[in-house]
C-alpha cells in the first residue's frame, strides 16, 4: 500500500498543477472559461430533471461550493488513481490525464455561452498535468519489496522510520546476505526520495503560485467590473417615470430584492468589454455597446417582477424603479423577420430565456434595464444589462447579464426552463398576499390592521378583498399606483377582532374584472395559484 503513496501523490500534484495552470489561463483569457466552473455547469445541466411538482429548489448557500468541492474531490481521486496507474503503464496514465483535459475542454465548449477559446484553459490543464506527471512519475516509482531475510530486517530495524531503508528498485543485485551491499541501495533510495520530494515541492509551489495568481487576477477582474459599475453615472431618462410613490414598502430595496438564477458564480461583467448581439431572424444584425445603450432615449418605469417558483404567499416578488432602453424600437430598427415569434435572450451565466415577440412589441414597457432604484444594476441582478417584460414571470421575460438577443421561433428552440418542463408561455397569474399580520401572529383584541400586496402586472389590480373566517368578504383600500405594471399595496382594518384563533384570507380582482382563482396550483409548471390564508390568534 505504502509504495502507492508517492505515485498517488505525483498524480495528485500533476493534476493540481494542471488545474491551477488552467484556472490561471482562464482568469487571464475569460473567467467564464474556467474548466471547473464549466464542468460544474455541465454537471448541473446533465442532472435529470426530478419530479416536477416539487421542482422549486433553493440554490442555497452551500450548494455551489459543495458542487465545486465535489468535482475537486472526484478529480483528486481520479488523479491519484492515474498517478498509481503511471507506475506500470505510463503511457496509459498520460493519455488518461490528457483525456481529463479533453473532458474539461468539451464541457467548456458546450456551455451555452461558449467561445472556441474557452477550450484553451482545460486543454492547457491537461497538457500541464501530463507534463508534470511524466516528470514526477519516474521519481515516484515505488521500490521493490524488501527481501524477507536476515540482514535487511536488521537494516529495517536500524531505520524504522526511514523509507529509504527499503531497497530501491534496481538495487536487487546486491547480495541479500551482504549487509555492506545494502548501503549503496540505501543511498540510492535516499537520493530518489529527496529528488521526488524536491520535485513534488516545486510542483506544489508552482501550483500555489499559479492558483494564487489566478485568484488575484480573478478578483481584480471582478473588482474592475465593480469599479466600472461604481464609475457609471446613469443618464437622466428622456421619459421619466411619475413622481416616486412615498408609501413604505412600495419599492423593494436592491439588497432585499429576491434573486433566482442559475449562476454558479455571479457574473462580473465589465461594461467596457460588454456588447449585446441582436441576431437571428432580423434583417440587420446589430451589435450594441454599453455606451450605445446609454445614448438611447431611456425610459424610467416602476415594474414589479416575480418568480414563477413563488408559492402562494411566498417572498419571490419585488418592485423597483427601473431605468432602461425600450426594447421594441431596437427590435424594429433591426427588422424582425416574418415568422420570428420568440426572442431568445442569453445571459453570461449560461441562461437562455424565451420571450414572445408579440408581447414585447405590443406597446408595454419591455426594456433592457440598466438602472434599478437609481443605481446601476447590482451584479446580482444582472449588471450591466438585464431584460424586463412587464406582465411575464422572470423565467420568460427577464434574463440577467444579457449578452445576446436572438430572434427565433418557439418551435425551433426551447429555452432553459422550458427544456426542464416549465411552460413556454409565462404570463403572471393574479395574486395577493397578506404581509401583516404574520403567520401564527398573536394579536390583542380590538382593531387589527391587515395589509399586504396584490399583483397582476400589465392587467393591474382593481380590487382586493379580505375575509375573516367565514364572514363575508370585505373590500380593502388600495393605495395609489403609477401604472398597471406594479403591485398594489392594500390595507384593511379588522374591526373588533375577538379572542380565539382566526383565519384571514385574501383575494384580488385584476384590471379586466377577473377574480383571482381560488383553484390551488403548485408553482410548476406555470406559477402557483390560490387564495392565501393566514392563521392568527387573538388573545
Amino acid at each position: 500500500m505504502r509504495q502507492l503513496i508517492r505515485p498517488a501523490l505525483s498524480g495528485l500534484l500533476a493534476a493540481a498543477g494542471g488545474v491551477a495552470a488552467g484556472e490561471l489561463v482562464a482568469s487571464l483569457v475569460r473567467p467564464e472559461s474556467s474548466p471547473l466552473v464549466a464542468i460544474g455547469g455541465t454537471v448541473i445541466d446533465a442532472t435529470p430533471t426530478p419530479v416536477k411538482e416539487y421542482a422549486v429548489a433553493t440554490f442555497g448557500t452551500y450548494d455551489k461550493p459543495l458542487l465545486i468541492g465535489t468535482i475537486l474531490v472526484v478529480l483528486a481521486a481520479l488523479a491519484a488513481a492515474v498517478g498509481v496507474l503511471a507506475v506500470h503503464h505510463r503511457t496509459a496514465a498520460l493519455l488518461a490525464i490528457g483525456a481529463l483535459g479533453l473532458v474539461g475542454a468539451a464541457a467548456a465548449l458546450t456551455r451555452p455561452t461558449a467561445r472556441p477559446i474557452d477550450a484553451l484553459p482545460a486543454l492547457l490543464a491537461g497538457a500541464v498535468s501530463a507534463g508534470l506527471l511524466a516528470w514526477l512519475a519516474p521519481k515516484a516509482a515505488p521500490a521493490a519489496p524488501p527481501p524477507v531475510v536476515g540482514p535487511t530486517t536488521a537494516v529495517d530495524g536500524a531505520h524504522p522510520r526511514d523509507p529509504a531503508a527499503i531497497p530501491a528498485a534496481g538495487a536487487g543485485e546486491a547480495s541479500p546476505d551482504d549487509s555492506a551491499a545494502v548501503l549503496p541501495s540505501q543511498r540510492t533510495g535516499r537520493t530518489e526520495r529527496r529528488s521526488f520530494l524536491i520535485a513534488a515541492g516545486l510542483v506544489a509551489l508552482g501550483t500555489a503560485l499559479a492558483g494564487g495568481l489566478a485568484a488575484i487576477i480573478r478578483r481584480s477582474g471582478a473588482q474592475a467590473a465593480d469599479e466600472a459599475r461604481e464609475a457609471i453615472t446613469l443618464p437622466a431618462p428622456a421619459d421619466p417615470g411619475p413622481p416616486p410613490e412615498k408609501t413604505p414598502g412600495f419599492y423593494t430595496p436592491n439588497q432585499d430584492f429576491y434573486r433566482v438564477d442559475i449562476a454558479l458564480t455571479v457574473p462580473r461583467v465589465d461594461p467596457r468589454q460588454w456588447t449585446l448581439q441582436l441576431t437571428g431572424m432580423v434583417d440587420r444584425p446589430t451589435e450594441l455597446t454599453f455606451d450605445d445603450l446609454l445614448k438611447q432615449q431611456l425610459i424610467e418605469r416602476d415594474i414589479t417582477l416575480n418568480c414563477v417558483s413563488n408559492e402562494v404567499g411566498g417572498p419571490y416578488v419585488g418592485n423597483a424603479r427601473w431605468l432602461g432602453v425600450p426594447l421594441a424600437p431596437l427590435l424594429r430598427a433591426a427588422g424582425v423577420q416574418a415568422g420570428a415569434d420568440q426572442i431568445v435572450a442569453r445571459g453570461a451565466d449560461g441562461i437562455t430565456i424565451g420571450t414572445p415577440v408579440a408581447t414585447v412589441l405590443d406597446g408595454r414597457d419591455a426594456m433592457l434595464a440598466l438602472g434599478m432604484n437609481g443605481r446601476p444594476l447590482p451584479a446580482e441582478h444582472g449588471f450591466p444589462v438585464r431584460m424586463l417584460t412587464p406582465g411575464l414571470y422572470g423565467y420568460v421575460g427577464a434574463a440577467k447579464w444579457i449578452t445576446s438577443l436572438e430572434l427565433a421561433t418557439f418551435s425551433s428552440f426551447d429555452a432553459y426552463w422550458v427544456q426542464r418542463g416549465w411552460a413556454a408561455m409565462g404570463p403572471v397569474k393574479t395574486a395577493s398576499r397578506i404581509d401583516r399580520p404574520k403567520a401564527f401572529a398573536r394579536l390583542t383584541a380590538g382593531t387589527v390592521p391587515v395589509a399586504g400586496v396584490a399583483w397582476a402586472q400589465h392587467r393591474g389590480i382593481s380590487a382586493v378583498e379580505v375575509q375573516v373566517d367565514d364572514a363575508p368578504w370585505q373590500q380593502a383600500t388600495l393605495l395609489p399606483v403609477p401604472s398597471t405594471d406594479t403591485w398594489v399595496q392594500w390595507t384593511w382594518n379588522w374591526p373588533a377582532a375577538t379572542a380565539g384563533s382566526h383565519t384571514l384570507r385574501v383575494r384580488a380582482v385584476d384590471g379586466t374584472g377577473a377574480l383571482q382563482t381560488e383553484q390551488r396550483a403548485d408553482p410548476f409548471p406555470d406559477g402557483a395559484s390560490g387564495w392565501q390564508s393566514v392563521l392568527v390568534t387573538v388573545a
Partner: protein, 217 residues
C-alpha cells in the same frame, strides 16, 4: 509510521490544493451567496440540488423512522429536497406524512406554515393517525376549528435543535407540550415517541412523532 506520515502529508497537500482551487474559482461566490437580506436564492427547478454525489445540506436527523425516508435526492420526499421546501410543502412530499398533509390542507394551514418565519413541527406520521379510530379522525377532519387547534398544538415558534428539545415548549395553539429524553430518544407529552427527528426544511425543523398530540383543553 512511515505510511501514516506520508498519508498525513498527502492529505495536507490534497487539502491545500483543494482550498487553492476553491479560492481560485469560487472566490466571488461568497459575495453572491451571503445576501444581507436572508432571502433565499432559489431556482424554479430541482436540478442543481439533485446532484447524486453531492452531500446535501440535510444531515443530523436521527431515529428509526428516518430509514423510511426516500433516499433518492431527486425524490421530493427526500431529506435533501425537504431541506429546500417550506415546511408544509416539504411535509406534503413525505410519504409518511400524507395524512398530516391532508389534515393541513383541510385545516387551511399550509400557507401559514409555509410563510411562517421559523417553526418546529411535531409531525404525526400516518401510523400515528392510524391509531385514532376512523370515526374520531373523520370527525376531527370535518371540524375545521378543532382541526386547526390540534394542528397548531403540534407547532412551536422558532427552530428547535435537538439539544434544546428537552423541556417545555409553548405551542402556537397556546398550550404547552413537554419533551423528555436526551440524545436521540425523546418523548412528547409522555405519549408520542420521536421516531425521526431534526429533519430540516426551508423555514422549519420537523420531528416525526408516532402519536397525535392532543391539546389538554
Amino acid at each position: 509510521m512511515y505510511g501514516k506520515r506520508k498519508l498525513t502529508a498527502l492529505a495536507a497537500v490534497a487539502a491545500f490544493s483543494l482550498s487553492l482551487a476553491l479560492s481560485a474559482c469560487g472566490g466571488e461566490n461568497t459575495a453572491a451567496t451571503t445576501q444581507p437580506t436572508g432571502l433565499p436564492t432559489t431556482v424554479p427547478t430541482t436540478v442543481p440540488t439533485a446532484l447524486p454525489s453531492m452531500p446535501g445540506a440535510a444531515g443530523g436527523e436521527f431515529g428509526p423512522a428516518c430509514a423510511t425516508i426516500p433516499k433518492d435526492p431527486a425524490n421530493p420526499g427526500s431529506l435533501e429536497m425537504m431541506a429546500k421546501q417550506p415546511v408544509a410543502t416539504a411535509a406534503a412530499a413525505n410519504p409518511q406524512l400524507s395524512t398530516l398533509a391532508a389534515a393541513i390542507q383541510a385545516g387551511e394551514l399550509a400557507d401559514t406554515l409555509n410563510n411562517a418565519e421559523a417553526v418546529t413541527v411535531f409531525a404525526p406520521t400516518n401510523e400515528a393517525f392510524a391509531k385514532i379510530p376512523k370515526a374520531d379522525l373523520d370527525k376531527v377532519l370535518a371540524d375545521k376549528e378543532l382541526l386547526k387547534k390540534i394542528l397548531a398544538y403540534h407547532v412551536v415558534d422558532g427552530k428547535t435543535a435537538p439539544d434544546a428539545l428537552a423541556g417545555t415548549h409553548k405551542t402556537l395553539e397556546g398550550q404547552d407540550i413537554t419533551v423528555t429524553g436526551s440524545g436521540t430518544e425523546f418523548k412528547v407529552n409522555d405519549t408520542a415517541m420521536i421516531v425521526c427527528g431534526n429533519i430540516q426544511t426551508r423555514n422549519g425543523v420537523v420531528y416525526l412523532v408516532d402519536s397525535v398530540l392532543m391539546p389538554p383543553s
